[in-house]
């Protein structure tokens, strides 16, 4: 047992060292004025991906509170299991618990860095698994102000990047980066992403629609950290400036290292996810 703990400590120290090294590399890149804004923007995204790499898997419960422009309010509850991809993109499984008429509906996603993602919906009333078009991911996710593409894990190759500069983020310092989606089906022309300069977690995103108008703002807060590097927000607030609608997400603490396997994220597992 002690021996096991010892090894865990060594691995944790190594991971921390890797994270620290990533930061030093990044600082050097950002100060290198010979590099283009594109190269520096991409370096930030890659460093953020490296820092969060190795989370293996996670499990979390989320409460979604939806507000429309007239002040009506509705709630949803769901659980999300995620498996970090080794050679592939991440895989995720979402099960809806409420409202009760949607209970048992589940969504399986296989992210791909180089091609369109695969996504299946499970309809419990018909016991039917249905593969759905990736383009559905730019529409409102379960009636909320989040599109599914806002919620999936960030693949660096899904965007072209451009570094803007250091800006103030409330009390902290942020690295502001602009990115444009590569995917034809994306609902956005561009996004402004604010990375916390120290942890590289995303504090804020401003979304611009296909016409270039300011569409939405996302703010994340109540951060929790796992193994000193995997930062997850406890609260997210997405405001749609064009419609006045708003969606809040309350995240329960994530459980990491659950030992999930690829079979847990298969279409057969989707049918019995509950």
């Amino acid at each position: 047992m002690t021996r096991g703990l010892g090894w865990t400590a060594v691995i944790a120290a190594l991971l921390l060292a890797t994270a620290a090294a990533a930061h030093e590399d990044l600082a050097a890149v950002l100060e290198d004025l010979d590099r283009s804004a594109e190269a520096r923007g991409q370096a930030i995204a890659e460093a953020a991906e490296r820092v969060d790499a190795g989370f293996a898997d996670s499990l979390v419960a989320v409460r979604m509170v939806l507000h429309d422009a007239r002040g009506s309010r509705s709630e949803r509850e769901m659980r999300i299991a995620t498996l970090e991809g080794v050679d592939t993109g991440d895989r995720s499984l979402i099960v809806f618990d409420s409202p009760r008429d949607q209970r048992g509906t589940a969504l399986l996603t296989w992210n791909h860095a180089e091609s369109e993602d695969d996504q299946w919906l499970y309809l419990p009333a018909l016991r039917r698994v249905k593969k759905i078009a990736a383009r559905n991911r730019s529409g409102p996710f379960v009636g909320s102000e989040f599109a599914f593409e806002d919620l999936t894990s960030e693949e660096v190759s899904n965007y072209t990047w451009s570094y803007v500069g250091r800006v103030a983020c409330d009390e902290r310092e942020c690295l502001k980066v602009e990115r444009e989606p590569v995917e034809r089906w994306s609902g956005y022309s561009r996004q402004e992403v604010f990375y916390d300069a120290e942890t590289l977690r995303i504090e804020r995103i401003e979304y611009y629609d296909r016409r270039g108008s300011h569409l939405k703002s996302l703010r994340s807060s109540e951060w929790r950290v796992h193994a000193d590097r995997h930062w997850r927000p406890g609260y997210m607030d997405m405001v749609n400036h064009q419609t006045g609608r708003r969606t809040e997400l309350f995240w329960e603490a994530h459980a990491f290292g659950n030992g999930f396997s690829a079979d847990d994220f298969s279409t057969t597992a989707l049918q019995r996810a509950r």
Partner: protein, 436 residues
């Protein structure tokens, strides 16, 4: 989308072909590993139970009296329960889904059914399910052609989407080259039909389905095998079924007199079915295909449904998504089809998801026989009221077929007139459901 019964006769020669022994050997040869991959949501927890229930008040209204003078308003009340328990970190589970309906008009529709009652064991790369269960196969929307394991609970709804629980032993293997599902199906369940007090049976009196689990038609054990896999952007399924045809043929019994409903006895024959189902998704287009060839006791035939669904996000500058659907339905028996089926039909439909707080949706479509002009129209829509209630609307209309006359057999052989059986069964339905 719609089917209703009609008489026909088939050949009586029997095909012997139940090769279920290899399948049983396959099941017995399973590695009996104790704990492995289960549900990601069941780890590190003790045994977990879930209980769900819903009550639905249903009101069906028909503008016309039925061909046998059946009433116009049909109220009923349905209860559905679902109990689920898992243990062994989700590796083992039990699911129980009882269903009850009380119908004011039709005694046959007042009944209970076990939709599901099965045990599941999940191992490393395999799953076993044993008991009464529902399994869906297929891709198309206008008709679920290849979906053959479960009997249709036609008395619930003529859209064929309600199914009876099928007794089965199912082994599923997950491999890099696809998913293999093997089924042993001991026992068969008869299709449910309304009585002469209910609707959708035309000018006939169809013998009541014997309840419970019946012997299979071949006298042996029915079985099925399916392979499915995602290859690039194509989802592909190939299946073989050897067992009792879920679609009955009807034999007139008793005297035939004008003005008196003809009595029909459903007969179930042995059949084999080879099927293919596929979906290819490219951008916002989904191309769908279901194809089958049936042989066995009745003359063999080929049928397919093929088409596409195109999804448009945020149409007309709203939050709504619009799906445009088009499918072609073909059956090489043409006018000899034993059921009210679609032999050379075009389906056009649209699906609206409003993406509002109440998850409102709408599906509307029409299936047109381009030769006779006969049309089947249908609309389904729903919205949530508060957090616990859902209101659903459904309507269907049958156009372009003349009504059949009770006791006149000649009407049945007149080409294109089969659909006249339900020509007066247009209806509107409201359902209010409370979820617990």
């Amino acid at each position: 989308m719609i089917s209703a019964p009609l008489p026909c006769s088939g050949r009586a020669d029997r095909v012997q072909g139940a090769h279920f022994v290899p399948l049983l050997l396959l099941v017995l040869a399973l590695p009996l590993q104790a704990v492995a991959a289960a549900s990601p949501f069941a780890r590190d927890t003790g045994p977990r139970s879930e209980f769900d229930a819903s009550v639905t008040l249903q009101l069906r209204a028909f503008p016309d009296d039925g061909l046998l003078g059946e009433r116009r308003v049909h109220p009923s009340l349905a209860l559905e329960f679902e109990y689920f328990r898992e243990w062994n970190q989700g590796a083992d589970s039990f699911t129980l889904v009882p269903f009850f309906r009380y119908d004011v008009r039709d005694d046959r529709r007042t009944r209970g059914d076990l939709r599901e009652a099965f045990l599941t064991h999940v191992g490393d790369g395999f799953e076993i399910h044993a008991g009464l269960r529902r399994v869906f196969w297929g891709q198309t929307e206008s008709k679920h052609l290849v979906d053959v394991l479960n009997q249709v609970d036609l008395i619930e709804n003529v859209d064929e989407e309600d199914r009876l629980g099928q007794p089965m032993l199912n082994l599923t293997l997950l491999r890099d080259w696809g998913v293999i599902e093997a089924y042993v199906l001991p026992g068969f369940r008869e299709r449910t039909f309304a009585s002469t007090d209910g609707r959708f049976t035309g000018p006939f009196e169809i013998a009541e389905a014997r309840s419970g689990i019946r012997r299979v038609a071949s006298g042996r054990v029915d079985w099925a095998l399916r392979w499915s896999h995602l290859i690039g952007e194509v989802e592909l399924g190939l299946a073989w079924f050897d067992g009792t045809n879920r679609e009955p043929e009807f034999e007139p019994v008793g005297p035939v007199e004008a003005g008196v409903p003809i009595r029909l006895q459903p007969r179930y024959r042995a059949m084999t079915q080879a099927s293919l189902d596929a979906q290819y998704i490219r951008g916002d287009w989904a191309w769908k295909l279901e194809l089958l060839r049936r042989g066995g006791d009745s003359p063999s035939h080929v049928a397919f449904v093929a088409g596409f669904e195109r999804t448009l996000i945020g149409v007309f500058d709203t939050r709504a998504d619009l799906g445009l659907l088009a499918e072609y339905l073909y059956d090489d028996r043409g006018r000899r089809t034993p059921l009210l089926s679609f032999a050379n039909d075009v389906f056009l439909g649209l699906r609206l998801a409003f993406n509002d707080l109440a998850d409102s949706d709408l599906l509307a479509g029409v299936i047109v026989d381009h030769r006779s002009g006969r049309q089947v129209w249908s609309v389904e829509a729903g919205t949530r009221l508060g957090q616990h209630w859902r209101l659903a609307f459904e309507g269907r209309a049958f156009r372009g077929a003349r009504a059949l006359r009770p006791g006149v057999l000649e009407d049945l052989t007149e080409p294109g007139r089969q659909w006249g059986a339900i020509a007066r069964d247009d209806y509107l339905q409201l359902e209010l459901t409370r979820f617990f």
